[in-house]
Symmetry: D2
Subunit: 178 residues, 4 copies
């Protein structure tokens, strides 16, 4: 099991916060990567995400959409389009806009996870480890079981070095230039 890569997000819809995986440590995180013009995302994957969102307490399970636009950028790529879409479909979980790449059509989080397309389902455990990475859809019964199974696991914080927080936010001596 590998640690899940942090999101690289342009901005958020449906939340005034900017959650990071680091912030969500201790909870199970379900991420649905989608595009608003992907039919099976709209009819199946996002309704399933909404169902997870209403079934579990947000203290236990955090559901996040991730808008990974890799085609029709001009059409799908605007924040206003996504806001209108999320509003009309009554999706109430936070949705991140994946940061565009400067070098190609695949946005940055999508590239970091090497996703094959949309919809993609990502499950991250209480300890921040990647536990499911699946192109396409899983049946509701199995997904519910998988999430509850992760909920039953304690957050193992042992592997995280004492200075991990400092690594990002603190001061660190740089190796001397040779």
């Amino acid at each position: 099991m590998t640690q899940a890569s942090e999101f690289i997000v342009q901005s958020w819809v449906n939340t005034t916060e900017s959650p990071t995986l680091q912030d969500l440590r201790g909870r199970v995180v379900l991420i649905k990567a989608f595009q608003m013009l992907c039919p099976s995302c709209v009819s199946l994957a996002l309704p399933q995400a909404q169902e997870v969102h209403r079934t579990f307490s947000q203290d236990d399970v955090v559901v996040l959409g991730l808008h990974t636009v890799f085609e029709h950028h001009a059409t799908q790529g605007s924040r206003a389009a996504l806001e209108a879409f999320v509003h009309e479909y009554r999706f109430t979980f936070p949705v991140a806009i994946d940061a565009p790449s400067e070098t190609g059509p695949i946005p940055r989080t999508m590239a970091a996870y090497e996703m094959q397309g949309t919809p993609t389902t990502i499950l991250i455990d209480r300890s921040g480890k990647l536990r499911l990475h699946q192109f396409g859809l899983e049946r509701d019964l199995a997904l519910g079981a998988r999430i509850a199974s992760l909920l039953g696991e304690p957050a193992t914080l042992a592997e995280q070095p004492a200075t991990s927080l400092g690594a990002a936010t603190g001061c660190k001596v740089q190796p001397p230039a040779s």
Copy 2:
């Protein structure tokens, strides 16, 4: 029964032609007014239109979409957005973009028909008369029966004056300026 109002169209997607109701006289015409961000349009009304399109011969029944954007104009209003939507959802019938109004959010054909919203179903008989104007959806069985019933009717061309075609394409003496 009243004669159906002619479309007022900005442009067409999925066709290189610009059909008018006048051109389609003699055939039954099904029009589905929709918005690409209207959930029941996407999941129910447009698939039903596609089903009609594949069930009947186009010599008998012409299926047309009508994109009547009356909210989220910035997002839904571009031709590129509609083209991407129609492409991703594999809708193959011609789609008209309703001409925007200069005075309000309701586009012009939608206003002329006094539609209540989307989806709206319009059925026009072989003689160009409005036979169904329905906000929302009808079940497939009843819609199939309704279309076939109209197919069974002859096109009554009597009301059409002999010069009607000429009115559009011919040469006509203008009334003298007073």
Copy 3:
């Protein structure tokens, strides 16, 4: 087009009458052959029959079930079992019990029509002619269109001898005994 074979019926459920095809001449008749233990009959074919039953006037279209038990005779074969089934599923159209054969498992109407199994859909026009004989299911839209198309046809009564009605209900001079 051949004349549709008359039913050979053991008894009827959901009606106190014993309709014959001859009686129904002038109307379109939809027959759904089924077995109460056939899953696609229960979940798809009979609900479609009920939908036809509620969509059209019974003056125009008569919907009949035909219980063609060709397996599990001990279980499905009783009138009481069929009555309980029809009651619990709220099917309200008349259902005929196909007359059992004395020589094999296939009941007599099913054999006369050479049905391949259940569900089978039969459509008979106003003149009593067989117009559709289909193993499996048709989509609602196409079935609605097909029925309405038959409704648009006049009943051709030419083949029916002038005395046919009298044969059943009128007074007739009997040939003298020789």
Copy 4:
């Protein structure tokens, strides 16, 4: 939490064994009480049971049907009818026939559990305790989560006295009469 009542079973279909709750201790048990003529049992509850049966290992989760006939006894009550039903619908989990009562229409396990009707869902934990008793249906996602949550619990055997097995099968010194 109360200990779940043992089944009172007439006979079993789809198994050559006669499992008791006592035998299944250590595993999670899902019971779907149904009648073969109950439409929502047939279309929703039993397919959900089959889905649970194929999703989890039988070492972890045991799915059992319970045919609780409380109406239409003459029709639904025969073992042959149930066998034909289970065969035609391709349900592969064991099904118990609830033992008929000698005094009324409600069979004995159904009465012991005070079920309100069919379908009823019963969940029993690894320790044999009743954890869910629900008339009607739960959505797949929540049921999957509920089962997995019970799977995460150890079987607590503490409440079971050391001689419990002996109570049934062994030899025990009787207390002397005073």
